[in-house]
Homo-oligomer: 198 residues x 2
DNA sequence: CGCAGATGAGACATGAATGTCTCATCCAAG
DNA sequence: CTTGGATGAGACATTCATGTCTCATCTGCG
C-alpha cells in the first residue's frame, strides 16, 4: 500500500523539520512560521500540513524534548551507582538538548493557564527521585528539598545553555561548570568535592 | 506654575503604573496593553500617554529593575566583610525584585539583536567583581569563572522566583535555598558549609 | 463661573502573523 | 504514459495587538 511508504516518509520529514525548527527557535524564540519553514527548506503550506499551527509546532517540540530528556534519563542510569555520578551522567546526557530545554523553559511562561504536558511531571518526578536517593544514601545534604534541587538543576541548565549561546562561557565547560557548582558550591574547602568519575 | 505640580503628579502616577505593570507582567508575561492599563486602574489612552508603547513600557521596567538591583547592590555593601556574607546580603536584597528580574531575564531573549541596556553590564561587572574578590581572598574556589558564577546566580534567582510563583517552594525559603545551594552545593560533608551570618 | 489640563471611552487605521484556500508542478508507482 | 499524492507559490480573509485620533467629561485653580 502506498500510504504506508507515505506515512514513513512523512515521519522522516517531520522529524527533520522538527530538528531545524528546534535549532532556529533556540536562537530566535520569536521566529515566525515563515522563517521556520524557510529554515527547514520547505514552504509554509507544507509546514502547515505537518503542524496545524505554531502552537502545534511548539507542542511537538515539547514532546520531542520530553522524549529526549527521558532518553537521557534512561541513558544516565539514575538508579545505578552513586547518585553523584548519576547526576553527572544526567547532565552530560541532557547537554545536547539544553538549548531546546531552555527555549521551552521560557516558553512555558506563556502557557499560563493552559494544560502542561504531563511528560514534564514524569521527568520532574524521576529527577527528584534521584536527588531523594542521594539524600537517603547520605551523599546529598537533606536541608534542601528535592523539588528545589530539581528546579535549580533546570535553572542551571538553562542559564548555562544561554550563556554558551551568548558566547559568555566556553561550550566545552558546560557539564563541568554545572556539575561542579551544583555539587560543590562556590566555597573553597580543604576537603575538595569528591570526583567519583574521571 | 501648574505644570510643576503636573510633573510631580505624573511622576507619582508613572511609578504606580510601573509597579502594577511589573506585578502583572511578572505573572502574565504576555499581558496586553489593555490588561496592563486595567490593572493599573487607568485607561489605555492614559497608559499610552505615559509610555509610548509596549516597548517603552518594558524598557521602563528594565530601567526600574536595574535601578533597584543597583540599590540592592549598594545596600549589600559588596566590598565589606567576607564575600560570602556579601553575596548572602545581595541575594536577600534582590529577593523582592526577583520576579521582575525573572520576567526581564526571559524577555531579554526577545531583544535578539537590539541593543542591551548598559545598566546590566554595570551590574554584571559588580557582581562578577564580588565573586572575584571572594576568589582572591581564598573564600571561593577558583576553578569556576566569575562570569559563570554571575550567570548561575541569575539563573538560580529566576528559577527560585518562578518556583515560588508556581507554589512549588515556600517563599520564606527563597534566600536560604539559593545561598545554601550556591555556597555549599548539594554534597553532604563532614565539614558543613560555614555560616558567617546567623 | 470659566478655563486649562488630564482623563476615559471608544472609534479607526495599521501591521503582523496566522490559518485557509486554490492551482500549477513535480515525481514516483503502476 | 498516466495518474495520485505531495509540494511550492501565492492569494486571501481573519484575528489581534498596537498606535493614533477625537470628543465628552471631570477637576482644580484663578
Amino acid at each position: 500500500m502506498s500510504h504506508l511508504r507515505y506515512s514513513r516518509l512523512m515521519a522522516v520529514d517531520r522529524d527533520q523539520v522538527l530538528r531545524s525548527a528546534a535549532a532556529l527557535l533556540t536562537r530566535r524564540s520569536t521566529a515566525t512560521m515563515d522563517e521556520v519553514a524557510k529554515a527547514a527548506g520547505i514552504s509554509r503550506a507544507t509546514l502547515h500540513r505537518q503542524f496545524a499551527g505554531r502552537d502545534a509546532l511548539v507542542r511537538a517540540l515539547e514532546a520531542l524534548c520530553i522524549a529526549e530528556c527521558e532518553a537521557a534519563l534512561a541513558a544516565a542510569r539514575p538508579d545505578e551507582g552513586p547518585a553523584v555520578d548519576a547526576v553527572r551522567r544526567l547532565i552530560a546526557e541532557i547537554e545536547p538538548n539544553a538549548p531546546l530545554l531552555a527555549f521551552l523553559y521560557s516558553e512555558n511562561q506563556l502557557f499560563e493557564g493552559e494544560e502542561q504536558n504531563e511528560g514534564w511531571a514524569r521527568i520532574d518526578e524521576r529527577v527528584a527521585a534521584l536527588f531523594t536517593r542521594g539524600q537517603a544514601g547520605g551523599e546529598f545534604r537533606i536541608d534542601l528539598t528535592p523539588a528545589w534541587l530539581t528546579e535549580a538543576l533546570y535553572g542551571l541548565l538553562a542559564s548555562a545553555a544561554w550563556a554558551v549561546a551568548e558566547g559568555r562561557v566556553a561550550p566545552k565547560d558546560f557539564t563541568h561548570m554545572i556539575a561542579e557548582l551544583l555539587f560543590g558550591g562556590v566555597l573553597r574547602r580543604d576537603d575538595p568535592a569528591p570526583r567519583k568519575e574521571s
